[in-house]
Each structure stands twice: as structure tokens, then as C-alpha cells.
Symmetry: C2
Subunit: 115 residues, 2 copies
DNA sequence: ATCATGCTTAGCCATACGGCTTAGTAACAC
DNA sequence: GTGTTACTAAGCCGTATGGCTAAGCATGAT
């Protein structure tokens, strides 16, 4: 498998799981502790911690431990690279449409009466 | 594992692989055949076809066979759900900031002696 | 000191993923 | 027809993923 773009791969992979997306959505509304995050999932703590590890490795959340309680928080800018990449694809596509249009215009100018 | 959001899961999963992202990027610039797509990857055809299957299942590309040649094309709107989801998280985050700000304003108006 | 809480570590298990090979099948070229 | 080209189908292999249990380890409460 290719080795470049570890960031985007980790980002998209982290987002590809519904459990992780749900956690991220809850964190976007405000910080939560690990147990609070686990509560609505029906999953065991170790499983939840693995998900949090994936999210944190992708840079989507940050966490800090105060006493025995770990609090997790959404990292606001983290989704930007993913958004940028998708935007780049859209741009590519539109550039192609523009070239097509330019080509058609050219044809029309050159051969006004032919089809 | 949770069962909702199969679309987003498939979408993000499809995007989580660098090979697939590279293929999608090339397709965003214009349609290509399977062999053309495979060429720069260094991967075998069956492997490439699996990747194409993932991309197509996610709705990111469409393909059609003409004679013995299958041509693949970028599907422009397909990234929108992913972008929308990410935008929703950003909104959540900003709503939270707004509430925080409103709260602070309230504290300041009251003179800050109690809650 | 003892116990409860909250997280952590280690490891098991089944399935999915990303790569491969080998062997087809369907169209075009001669 | 024979062969070549372009894709497809089937299945193997090693690793990663997503879930679990069981046990450990701090910290806070009694």
C-alpha cells in the first residue's frame, strides 16, 4: 500500500466508524469524560478507549487527565485537511468542466456554420 | 457496531486509502479506463478492481462497460454528504462558542458576584 | 486502611482489508 | 480459428480492526 498522506488516511479512517463519528459529534458540543462518552454507546470502556485513541491519533480530539478523570475535547481545526482535500477534487472537476466549455466555445467560433 | 449512517461510513472508508484517493483525484480530472487507472499504481488488476469496487459502492465513481473496456468517472456530488457532516460538526462547535460567549456576557452584565 | 471509581493494560476472538496468484470469459485483431 | 487484450472470478495470506474479558493501578471517599 502507498505510504504518503498518513494524515488524511488517519483522518478519514477515524471518521469511517459510526461510533467514532457519534463520539466526535458529542464532543463538538462540549468536552466530556471517558465514562460520559462511553455511556450512550453500550460499549465497554476498553473498546471506547480504543476509539478515542484512534480519534486522538488522527488529531480530531485532545485529552488530558485531571486526577483519575480524563477529559476529551474536540479539536476544531482538525477537519480542515479533509475538507481541503475534498475541495481540491471539486476544483479539479470544475477545471475540467471549464476546459470542456472552452473547447466547445472554440469549436463554435471556428465552425460557426458546421455542426 | 452501530448500524446507522452506512453512507457516511462507506464514504469515509473509501477515502481512507491513499491508493483510492489517488485514483479519485485522477478521475476528477477526467474519465479513465481500468487499465489506465491501474498503470501508475504498481498494483495488479484484481487489486485495482477491488479498490474501484469500494469507490463505486461508496457512490464516488460510476463505471460502464463498452465492449471489453470499462470506463470509470468521478461522480461530482458524491462528496457532499461527507462535507455536510463535517460542516455540521463545525456548526455544533461554533454554537457552543456562542453559548459560552453569551454566558460570559451575562456574567459581566450581572456584575460577576454570583451565577 | 479500606473500598469504590475511573481509567489502563494485556490479550483473546472473529471478521474485514489490502495485497497477491491463478484461472477464467468477452471482445477485438489477424 | 488463433491469439491478444481487458477485465472478472475465486481464493489464499498476513495484518488490522472492532469487539470482548480479566486483571492492574491510581486517585478520591469513608
Amino acid at each position: 500500500m502507498a505510504k504518503h498522506d498518513p494524515d488524511l488516511s488517519a483522518l478519514f479512517h477515524a471518521l469511517s466508524d459510526p461510533t467514532r463519528r457519534a463520539m466526535l459529534a458529542r464532543l463538538a458540543a462540549g468536552p466530556l469524560t471517558v465514562t460520559e462518552l462511553a455511556a450512550p454507546t453500550g460499549l465497554r470502556l476498553p473498546t471506547v478507549l480504543k476509539h478515542l485513541g484512534v480519534l486522538e491519533a488522527a488529531g480530531l480530539i485532545a485529552s488530558a487527565k485531571d486526577g483519575r478523570i480524563r477529559t476529551c475535547a474536540f479539536v476544531p481545526g482538525a477537519l480542515a485537511p479533509a475538507r481541503d482535500w475534498m475541495e481540491a477534487q471539486r476544483s479539479l472537476w470544475e477545471a475540467r468542466l471549464d476546459r470542456l466549455e472552452a473547447y466547445v466555445m472554440q469549436l463554435m467560433k471556428e465552425g460557426g456554420h458546421d455542426q
